[in-house]
């Protein structure tokens, strides 16, 4: 039977744009162009590599998000994923990571899976805990933050590079893995891939389809609440040391006064 891989991806505001919060302290997704989270591209890439190596696999990309989020799915499909699932419901607005993991877990179960692949974190929320939450909700092992990953037989194996040690990890399938930005450059969609993506199926699901009550998710159902947000203060002008013969000394004094040397 073919290996069923589900990749969780997120549609995020472009990090190079002027990102801000909306009036209800949720991420403003309207004023900045969105795209497939760069960190999730690594997840898609590794899933496609595993699928290519297995020769008999199906890669499904899954996202939870508003209408525009289908662009992220389209990008992943044009990279080579086989099909997509889009969970979209007005009641999802404001959902925190706990609620998001509940929605993803239901959608993953509904899709059917042997391996769930995630990026290391989203580039907007940067929580990075979705893989662990999914592992708990799905009742399967987690092997996270891998810089190398592969599937052999019924086992997923990978390498996690830490500051102090490199760990070689493995888990029996089904399992949840997350991959880092060191796992290998994500491929660029090819012309044929882009044209083929037009014909690939995108399944739309709402909360009813997944059997989730509206009050379990959304702003009201969130376990965390954002009371206020303050913009980072503008950077102040630096100190300019004018060299009049004593420049080096002044520079050293400044660095010493800031305890840099």
């Amino acid at each position: 039977m073919s290996l069923r891989i589900v990749v969780c991806v997120k549609y995020v505001p472009d990090a190079t744009g002027d990102r801000r919060f909306a009036d209800d302290n949720t991420t403003d997704r309207d004023s900045v162009d969105g795209l497939l989270s760069e960190l999730d591209e690594y997840g898609v890439e590794q899933a496609l590599k595993i699928a290519e190596a297995s020769g008999d696999a199906e890669v499904t990309v899954l996202t939870v998000g508003p209408d525009d989020a289908k662009d992220a799915l389209r990008k992943a499909l044009s990279m080579g994923a086989d099909k997509a699932v889009h969970v979209n419901d007005d009641d999802i607005h404001g959902t925190d990571v706990i609620g998001t993991s509940a929605i993803l877990a239901k959608a993953i179960e509904k899709t059917g899976f042997d391996l769930v692949v995630c990026g290391m974190a989203s580039t907007d929320g940067t929580m990075g805990v979705i893989p662990a939450l999914l592992s708990e909700r799905l009742g399967v092992p987690q092997v996270t933050l891998l810089s190398e990953v592969g599937v052999e037989g019924g086992t997923v194996k990978g390498r996690r590079d830490g500051d102090a040690a490199t760990e070689l990890l493995e888990a029996s399938l089904p399992a949840v893995v997350s991959v880092t930005d060191q796992s290998g450059e994500a491929r660029y969609p090819s012309f044929k891939g882009i044209m083929a993506a037009k014909k690939k199926p995108v399944e739309s699901l709402d909360l009813d389809d997944l059997g989730i009550e509206a009050d379990e998710v959304g702003l009201a159902g969130a376990w965390t609440a954002v009371d206020s947000a303050t913009a980072r203060p503008a950077r102040t002008a630096g100190t300019i040391v004018k060299d009049e013969g004593e420049g080096g000394k002044q520079l050293a004094e400044f660095l010493a006064s800031q305890k840099f040397i």
Binding site: R74, K75, S78, Y188, P189, I194
Partner: protein, 313 residues
């Protein structure tokens, strides 16, 4: 007739933009100029991986069949990022390989393993030293010479393959692709110059604030924006095999070549002395613009072609 690019075409352009943005093209140009072609060949294959060189290769040989609009938008991106090598020539020559009995090369062209070049009648081939096969329209041979563009050499080797038929359509395609490369080159030159005018201060204010500078930049933008519809119009004319395709391509080539060159002149002047500096990457685009203006039809030759089309039609 559709004049707007669709989502897939825009997506393909974005994919090329992302690939080339991450590729450090100036380093590739400098390597080629210094005699090391390996980085260029590596980038060429990566471009093939996303399907660029399949766009002029027949479907039976691993291509998509000739897609002029997609070729044009690819060449605009390639020009914008300064991609060196015989791009227009490879696209054009790959449409001729069947007629010269060299179909065995076609899968390699699509996969980026094979680079081609093509010489116009009485002209040189671009980068014949890099090309795995050179085709020629007409007779002749010429030794290898350095072009004004440091990444480009021209010449016509003795073993070039003579083209018997289909030359007019292929040279039209080369002119169209060159026009697109010129437009892309001009787009980059303008963007870089606008950015420079924002940050370079003189008399205590950014030079972009001076009206004379603004007008110079606005003139370039107008020229580029007015050339672009001619370019895509010509691509559609070629795609639909309209009788006007030849003169449409000539009009696009004249307009894009001149616009790219105008962008280079403005970039050189507004950057001041730094624009002349070899170490400054912009100089690579400035010299490219001059070459592309004249390759596959000088502006005056293109204007003559447009006029002839008017009189004949």
């Amino acid at each position: 007739m559709r004049f707007l690019l669709d989502a897939e075409q825009r997506g393909f352009a974005a994919s090329l933009d992302a690939l080339l943005s991450a590729a450090d093209v100036p380093a590739v140009i400098r390597s080629r100029a210094a005699g090391d072609d390996a980085p260029l060949r590596a980038l060429w294959r990566r471009l093939a991986d996303v399907g660029v060189f399949a766009l002029a290769v027949p479907e039976t040989y691993g291509g998509t069949g000739l897609l002029p609009v997609e070729l044009v938008l690819s060449c605009v991106e390639l020009g914008r990022h300064g991609m060196p090598g015989p791009l227009a020539e490879t696209f054009a020559a790959s449409t001729l390989l069947e007629s010269v009995g060299q179909t065995a090369l076609l899968p390699g062209v699509a996969s980026g393993q094979v680079i081609l070049s093509l010489a116009a009648e009485g002209g040189y081939a671009a980068d014949p030293d890099l090309a795995d096969a050179v085709l020629r329209v007409g007779e002749g041979k010429a030794p290898l010479r350095q072009s004004l563009d440091p990444a480009r050499r021209v010449g016509l080797p003795e073993d070039a393959i003579a083209v018997e038929s289909g030359a007019e359509r292929a040279t039209g395609l080369a002119a169209l692709c060159t026009a697109a490369l010129a437009l892309g080159t001009g787009r980059h030159l303008l963007a870089a110059t606008v950015e420079y005018a924002r940050t370079r201060t003189q008399f205590g204010t950014p030079i972009g604030g001076f009206q004379a500078v603004k007008h110079r930049l606005a003139d370039v933008l107008l020229q580029l924006d007015f050339a672009e519809p001619l370019l895509y119009g010509a691509a559609v004319a070629l795609q639909d095999a309209l009788p006007s395709a030849g003169s449409d391509i000539a009009a696009a080539k004249a307009a894009c070549g001149e616009a790219g060159y105008a962008a280079a002149r403005a970039a050189l002047q507004l950057h001041g002395a730094i624009g002349y500096t070899d170490e400054f990457d912009l100089s690579l685009w400035i010299r490219r613009a001059r070459v592309l203006r004249n390759a596959w039809g000088t502006p005056s030759a293109c204007r003559r072609r447009v006029l002839a089309g008017r009189i004949d039609g």
